[in-house]
Amino acid sequence: MSSPDGNEPIADDELLYRRIPASMSWYTEAVLSPMAFRPHGERDVDGISLWRAKHTSIEQAARGRPGKQYYVAVLRAGDLMAHGMEVTATPKQGEPGHASLPALNSENRRDPAALDLQGLLARQLTVRVEGPFRTPDSS
């Protein structure tokens, strides 16, 4: 059997990470904003990005702009699937743990159904939030 390369299907019991820029204040007073799961209007055409804990450390998932800080929301794949959200393995060069949530994408980001999922993810399905983690200046 070949070792997993990030293309293997995502199992129910896998943990997933969602990076949250601390500078946006989407996580304060232990309250996570649905904005943390709002797709960008141009950059999330195929769905918002997640990272699989199986292939990615939480520090790697938190890595963003040099010198900036990021929280990480931790989710369980089975919880998302139980609410009808497919999670797709979309490994990239150097990021075997990259995954996508096609149900939330640039085009539908303000549709009521997508807003509903953003609230569900932020207010119910996030298991915990960790961080903030600082991205090193030299990365």
Partner: protein
Amino acid sequence: MRPPEYAETMLDAVPYTGQTGVADDDSLALSAQERQGNRQAWQRIIDSTLIEWGRDPAQLEDEDVTAPAGAIIDRANELAMILRDEGWAPPKRVVTSPDGGVVFERWDGPVLEQIEVTENGEILVTCYEHSRLAHVERVRLTT
């Protein structure tokens, strides 16, 4: 459960739990001290957050986040002044949306409400109850 569809509403008809300034029922009316406190909180948001953002919107750029345009910050400022003057309860935080909107958020127990100026200048009010979307309105300003 199907999420609710968008409604089109005038600002003063929005079902917003923080819209206490127009309460007819004495039991819902705020004391003068509370009203003054709300007004001061909005003023701090205008003076400290929105004006500061307007001076340097680029400070709000981050990974996968587009900073709001100056015109959108101006629009949020205009809205904040209206909500201040109408006596709406102030938000607990002001944030940006990923693609350049400005969002006022407040929450109380299972309810989380957002008043959003989108990157196109549209105003949306979104309410979540127990993590699910309860209603969403496209709002026209009365003034």
